[in-house]
């Protein structure tokens, strides 16, 4: 049950009547009884909430940054009209709007209500409850009740780096020889023989075939296909750090400026977690590798396997990837590098390109990954991709006051650590991509294309 403002207003107006009544005590009792009668009558005449039936329809997946429409169909099997307000409650980060919906369902009919979700976070958002407030005919009191109408909307990673895909596919086509590129080199395999046309490199003429065919024949080459790429996403504590500026508003990505605190370095918005930037880069690499004819597997690991995609067909790869990535969150634990390496070794039987998306944190890498790298690089080609922090780069340029210079020194110290660990990784034969958040996805794609062109896959 719920009251409306009308009940309070009536009671307040009654105070005037009581003030001037000859028998104020009786007047008060009379007005109170009248109000009680009105409220009881309204409650009795309001449409029942309990027998209402609900169904849902609409979107069950949405990319972060887009809007989802979720429909709620309200069916009123009762004998009275249900009129009032309805709240379809969702978690705050689902961004459900409007907050309250007007409801008016005549007896025996259905109505369709639409809630628009603007999620601010990846993952599964589940509807909480549907609450209905059914007003009586006088509008003094209302019946209120809640129903559970389950629905889940999976919020997928936005894959913003897909804007880089066309240019990288064009580079791939150049490599593949759909454009007339007859360059023979390492990393190419014999494709076919065809007749010589003017402009072909004379070095690619196959003289033996020419002798057989009485025509000048050249060999064509194409890059290797059907190589394996294993993308490993580190979901440990280092992936929780937020860097850059969030291209899509993310829950918690807004600046927290408590009142009274000076707007300074603390006013910098915390941006996106490294995990989300890494996912973006992984998606671009997966899309590119799938088009290039390679098989892509995906592993997310911190102290246990968080997600694993293997053997997805080329057309389904991207949807499979975004589906397993959606609920991933950074775990606030140190990643277990030994476990990660053994997981990679057990999952990848044949030689493949292992792309490890992590952070170049010298402390955790030296203790964790570096001693284990020989095991990994003996069987596989390893590429470590890391998102660097633009804020550290900005701090390194700070000059003018002692505070800024001390900060710059701290940033230089971190950069020196990153350079040292990069050099050590390269000595182990590991490729390293260290780029700013906005550049990490294209930089990783370029590194992959370079490896493919060089035939090192």
């Amino acid at each position: 049950m719920a009251l409306t403002g009308r009940a309070g207003l009536l009671a307040a107006l009654g105070a005037v009547a009581v003030l001037f009544a000859p028998e104020p005590g009786l007047a008060l009792a009379g007005i109170a009884l009248l109000l009680l009668a009105l409220i009881l009558a309204d409650l009795a005449l309001a449409g029942a909430v309990r027998p209402l039936r609900f169904h849902r329809a609409g979107d069950s997946t949405v990319r972060l940054g887009n809007q989802a429409r979720v429909e709620l169909i309200v069916e009123n099997p009762g004998s009275r009209r249900v009129r009032g307000a309805l709240r379809d409650a969702w978690p705050p980060s689902a961004g459900a709007a409007p907050r309250h919906l007007a409801l008016d369902v005549p007896a025996g009919e259905k109505r369709r209500l639409v809630t628009t979700l603007t999620p601010t976070r990846r993952g599964d958002r589940e509807a909480v409850t549907v609450t209905v407030r059914s007003l009586g005919p006088l509008g003094v009191a209302a019946r209120q009740g809640a129903h559970e109408v389950p629905w889940t909307v999976r919020v997928l990673p936005p894959f913003l780096s897909r804007k880089h895909l066309p240019s990288r596919l064009a580079r791939l086509r150049e490599l593949e020889g759909r454009h007339p590129a007859l360059v023979r080199g390492q990393g190419t395999e014999f494709d076919s023989l065809r007749e010589y046309v003017v402009g072909d490199d004379v070095r690619s003429i196959d003289w033996r075939a020419t002798a057989r065919r009485h025509d000048v024949v050249v060999r064509t080459w194409r890059p290797e296909r059907d190589r394996r790429v294993l993308i490993v996403l580190d979901t440990g504590r280092t992936s929780a750090g937020r860097v850059g500026t969030a291209p899509v508003p993310l829950a918690g990505a807004l600046p927290r400026t408590p009142p009274g605190e000076a707007a300074g370095a603390d006013a910098v918005p915390p941006g996106w977690p490294r995990l989300d930037w890494s996912m973006d880069a992984a998606l671009l690499l997966a899309a590119l590798a799938a088009r290039a004819g390679d098989r892509v597997d995906f592993l997310a690991y911190d102290r246990a396997v968080r997600a694993w995609v293997s053997g997805a067909s080329r057309t389904e790869l991207l949807s499979a990837l975004v589906n397993v990535m959606a609920p991933l969150e950074a775990e606030l634990v140190e990643s277990d590098s030994a476990g990660m390496v053994s997981a990679v070794l057990s999952h990848a039987k044949r030689r493949c390109l292992v792309v490890l998306l992590t952070d170049l944190n010298s402390a955790s890498l030296e203790e964790g990954l570096l001693p284990l790298l020989p095991q990994l690089s003996a069987r596989h080609l390893v590429l470590v991709a890391a998102v660097s922090d633009p804020r550290v780069a900005a701090m390194a340029r700070g000059r003018g006051t002692p505070e800024l210079v001390y900060d710059a020194a701290a940033a230089e110290r971190l950069n020196a650590d990153r350079r040292a660990i990069t050099a050590r990784l390269r000595r182990h034969g590991v490729e390293v991509v260290d780029a700013l958040p906005d550049d990490i996805a294209p930089a990783l794609a370029d590194a992959y294309l370079a490896l493919k062109a060089a035939g090192r896959l």
């Binding site: 719920a2 009251l3 409306t4 009940a7 307040a12 009654g14 105070a15 005037v16 009581v18 003030l19 009544a21 104020p24 007047a27 008060l28 909430v49 309990r50 027998p51 329809a57 069916e75 709240r87 409650a89 705050p92 976070r121 909480v128 409850t129 549907v130 609450t131 407030r133 009740g145 809640a146 129903h147 559970e148 109408v149 929780a240 750090g241 937020r242 860097v243 829950a251 918690g252 915390p270 969150e329 950074a330 952070d359 804020r391 550290v392 701090m395 000059r399 003018g400 002692p402 505070e403 210079v405 001390y406 900060d407 710059a408 020194a409 701290a410 940033a411 230089e412 110290r413 950069n415």
Partner: protein, 386 residues
Amino acid sequence: MSAPAAPSTSLAPTPGVVWRRWRGTLVVGLLVLFTAGVVAVFSGGDSGEANDPADSSLSGSLGLARLLAQEGVRVERVTSAATAAAAAEAAGGDALLLVTALSYLTPGDLRTLADAPGDRLLAGVVSPHLAPGVTAVDRARPRSREPECALPAAVKAGSAYLGGVALDGPPGAIGCYPSADGPTLVSYTHQGRRITVAGGAEFLTNLRLAEDGNAALAMNLTGARSTVVWLTAPDEPPPLAGPSGRSFEELIPAGVWWAAGQLALAVALLALWRGRRLGPVVAERLPVVVRAAETVEGRGRLYRAGRARDRASAALRAGLLDRIVPRLGLPPDSGRDAVIAAVTARTGRDGHEVAAILYGPPPADDAGLVALASTLDTLERQVKDS
């Protein structure tokens, strides 16, 4: 989704659920009421004004009243000046008027009391009507004090808990239990009656009665006469009356009270209206928000707090060398002399100057560090541009 025959999705609670949900609250509420009742029953006595001879609480004086009764002294508890004067008259002058509170007495009441026969004991109060010539000098901390006077009642009792105010008596008065500013108990004879004024009334209370010589002093001071007329504050303060004899509350028309009640009802209804939520508050576990640069900022603040100019300058110089050594065409592990020579050749600066910039001692103060940073920037620009 679901067929028409699907089970109800309603979350409306059944009576059983309501009972299970609220029984804990109910039990706790009953426990609180029960505890309050037990405390009210066993706390004993009424908690009236301090020094009430009928009050058994710590601030009351029932103990002294009982002691006096055992010694055959009649204790008359009175609450108004008129009854006090009448009781004193009835005792025929063989009475002691004990006053511990004055705030409810009007000037007329005081004159009535001043005319009543018998001795007087004023504890914790000073009045020029009842004890002429006695004035309060200053505050004195209540504590156990020694008599240090010739008053027999005090000498026999010994030390007692006195204080409150230091007093100044008329000429010829005996001052006892002195504080730094004067005695805290004054006794003298005025117009044939014994008047005693104590700076504080704590020594009469049930709390202090058993300590020191408090009981003895109280008995010595009050037990000399056959009757003690004990004037305490009235149980119910008299209502304030206007000129016409009707109080402010009586002048308000009755309708206003009822209308106020009606308005209170309206406020309660409005509170119910605004207080009813449409659906639950939804809580959500959000991921932690931590900026990746926080460790670097923390290290910068540590450098600053420790004035670590040596480490800061070393980091800045190492960063510069990492950037310019490849530009100079040198291998990464080049020695100091090779780097100095290459930089000198590239920029045309003096070799000693370059050595001081790149490998010199750490700056002596923060200003030197800031200057070193800009010098390093200049050198880097020169190497890049040349």
